[in-house]
């Protein structure tokens, strides 16, 4: 056996990397290292967000992290040879990871540590700038923290884009014996994975953001409502919370401030609607996740009837940056009322799928074509859906629009949670519109009629259009139905399901004009078609 040499490699524990074989790579690395007498430390990190390179393995040399990817278990022996030899030569070498243009061009405020640090090491978190904001916040008054959030122009990143500062001030101004901080981590929108990535890759950031919120509004208890479809995030988040208690970030004496903030992780039970804040609160109380009528707003009567600050993961994760570097710096990024950065998530049929954090102001075309590289199979980009299942389908011709709140709202679309799904020209927009209703029917909480019944009727109407039955009048009925759902639904589920439907009809009229069987797209509704 040769002389023992010591090395460290970084392998992501992020769900996407794991789904593409990262655990097998880690096992192979441990095995090969033992066989070669290399003392190897494997640090499992979050993902850098360049998902087409996953599993992306990193090795540090001279203070620079070098990337190798996508790595399969079979690539590991030669990688360890290169490591032992001190060369960085490998056929999958990507060079210095932070010099890759996709990475270098980003403005990473929220994701600056993700993929870099050991997500479960508080020391690592501190060494990379973590906890500076919370240390600053314990010396500030609640009002001045709320002012900073207000000044920053931060808007709720969950989808609605409501100014966070107004919510914070409302909760702070409402007197009660108990207030709550609730993090909405029920990231159910297809095409979005930023919440998952940050919880897996930098969980202390969310804990720090929530603790600051607690100090700001006078809430001593917080909950993270996490969907059950995210087992890796659940494990990392739960270990991080335990670590945060041990490290004095949570509990009766947050950073020796004498103030309490308790935090608990709650796992949902499979219901898309629980991403709606009032439904989430009912679920967190152990009930059916049915929506509540508003008012009262959760900021005034939320969890157990107490004032509750409900925000998305990314909203809380933007807080430490704002407190640490000042509201002005955050506000100076972005365009108009869309301030700061947005971690865009680019997925579907796209070459460079992943997460790209940048200041608002980037166009959809930049995100889809320049950054995303167009479709994976080289076909033309025919449509994108932005903002999840309740988001609009937009044609290629509209991609020059800026991806910010105001610009998209002006055409009836929205940023949502920043997810962009790319479709090539084999997509059938009638089928996508039908799916929007089908999904709504599947996931409606059933509390209000326009959503519960409307979704089912929507599927039926679209089937009639597909079959060529009185198309003109059925398109009119479809339009009436959408209007009714928008006006009459209690929450965004029924109220926004018409957005993908109507945008599909508006921008892709051809898809609704030609009746008959649609050979390109395989039949989907299991109940109707033989496999």
């Amino acid at each position: 056996m040769t002389t023992l040499s010591r090395h460290t490699i970084h392998i992501p524990l992020d769900s996407v990397a794991v789904a593409l074989g990262a655990d097998e790579v880690a096992r192979a690395a441990a095995h090969e290292a033992a066989a070669r007498g290399i003392e190897l430390t494997i640090v499992r990190t979050g993902s850098r967000g360049m998902h087409w390179l996953e599993p992306l393995v990193e090795i540090e040399r001279g203070g620079v992290r070098h990337g190798f990817g996508p790595i399969e278990a079979a690539d590991v022996p030669l990688l360890l040879d290169a490591l032992a030899a001190g060369t960085m030569a490998h056929r999958k070498s990507l060079g210095a990871i932070e010099e890759i243009p996709y990475f270098r061009a980003q403005t990473r405020l929220t994701f600056n540590r993700c993929g870099v640090v050991d997500p479960l090491s508080i020391d690592d978190y501190r060494a990379h700038g973590g906890l500076e904001a919370l240390e600053k916040a314990v010396a500030l008054t609640g009002a001045s923290i709320c002012d900073a959030i207000m000044m920053s122009g931060l808007r709720g990143r969950g989808g609605a884009g409501f100014p966070a500062g107004i919510k914070w001030k409302t909760v702070a101004a409402t007197d009660a014996d108990q207030k709550y901080i609730v993090c909405n981590a029920d990231e159910g929108d297809s095409g979005t994975f930023a919440d998952r990535m940050i919880m897996e890759g930098d969980p202390f950031l969310l804990i720090e953001g929530m603790a600051i919120a607690g100090l700001a509004v006078g809430a001593s208890e917080g909950y993270i409502y996490l969907r059950s479809e995210y087992p890796v995030a659940a494990r990392v988040m739960s270990e991080a919370i335990a670590g945060a208690y041990r490290g004095g970030l949570l509990g009766a004496d947050v950073l020796r401030s004498g103030r309490r903030f308790d935090l608990e992780l709650f796992i949902g039970a499979g219901a898309y609607i629980c991403g709606e804040e009032t439904s989430l609160l009912n679920s967190l109380e152990g009930r059916r996740g049915e929506v509540r009528a508003k008012p009262p707003l959760p900021a005034i009567e939320g969890l157990f009837g107490k004032p509750t600050l409900v925000q998305n993961v990314l909203t809380f994760c933007a807080v430490p940056t704002i407190i640490e570097d000042g509201a002005a710096r955050y506000r100076n990024l972005g365009v108009g009322k869309s301030t700061g950065t947005m971690p865009f998530q680019i997925s579907g049929n796209v070459k460079y799928a992943g997460l790209y954090e940048t200041a608002f102001g980037v166009t959809l075309r930049d995100l889809v074509e320049k950054i995303g590289g167009g479709t994976q199979n080289g076909r033309p980009v025919h449509a994108i859906q932005i903002g999840g299942p309740l988001g609009a389908y937009l044609p290629n011709a509209l991609l020059d629009l800026t991806a910010d709140y105001e610009t998209l709202a002006a055409i009836g679309a929205g940023v949502g949670h920043g997810g962009i799904i790319v479709f090539d020209n084999t997509v059938d927009l009638l089928e996508q519109a039908r799916y929007a209703f089908e999904f709504c029917a599947e996931e409606s909480c059933g509390k209000c009629t326009p959503c519960r019944i409307g979704a089912v009727r929507g599927v039926e109407i679209i089937d009639r259009i597909r079959n060529g039955e009185a198309q003109a009048s059925n398109l009119e009925t479809l339009s009436d139905l959408c209007e009714l759902m928008v006006d009459g639904s209690l929450c965004a589920m029924g109220g926004m399901t018409p957005i993908p439907v109507q945008s599909a009809v508006k921008y892709f009229p051809d898809a609704f004009a030609k009746p008959g069987p649609r050979p390109k797209v395989a039949a989907k509704a299991g109940a109707e078609t033989a496999p």
């Binding site: 769900s15 996407v16 794991v18 789904a19 593409l20 998902h51 087409w52 996953e54 990231e187 159910g188 929108d189 297809s190 095409g191 979005t192 994975f193 998952r196 909950y223 059950s228 479809e229 995210y230 890796v232 995030a233 608990e264 709650f266 796992i267 949902g268 039970a269 499979g270 219901a271 898309y272 679920s283 967190l284 152990g286 009930r287 059916r288 996740g289 049915e290 998530q345 680019i346 997925s347 579907g348 049929n349 799928a353 992943g354 859906q385 299942p389 997810g419 799904i421 790319v422 996508q432 799916y435 999904f439 996931e443 909480c445 797209v521 395989a522 039949a523 989907k524 299991g526 496999p531």
Partner: protein
Amino acid sequence: MNTDPTDQSALTPVIQPWVGRTGGLITALRAVQAKIGFLPPETEAAAASAFNLSRAEVKGVISFYSDFHRAPQGRTVIRLCAAEACQAQGCRSLEAEVERRFALKTGMTSVSRDVTLERVYCLGLCSAGPAAMVGGRLIGKATSEKIARAVELQGAS
């Protein structure tokens, strides 16, 4: 309904620790399911009595959430993502292929109880679609071969 007191009393120790906790009923039901594999009818009475709720309320919660099952599932559960990002990557034809391969319709369990095939709406693996989960194992860029291999591995373990 089977209200065998021995069955019900066997559930109580699983449920009891969650009484008084925030959202405790949901967590308690998850705990029962983790232990037994599904929620037998006795769960309703046991949870109702522990949480001081009506049985109807407990039943309402069980029926609301798609994670809760009132009948046993297959030894291996295949969950295929059916949402938009995976649609853009061909999950509709993958579903049809997996149905053929396992001679199962989505939503069904094989007679041998080896495999359950079901849909899931987003696993957060949108950048590596189509996505699937077999047992606890995440699969990106899923093919019916990858899924079949994962099912074999599950069966072997």
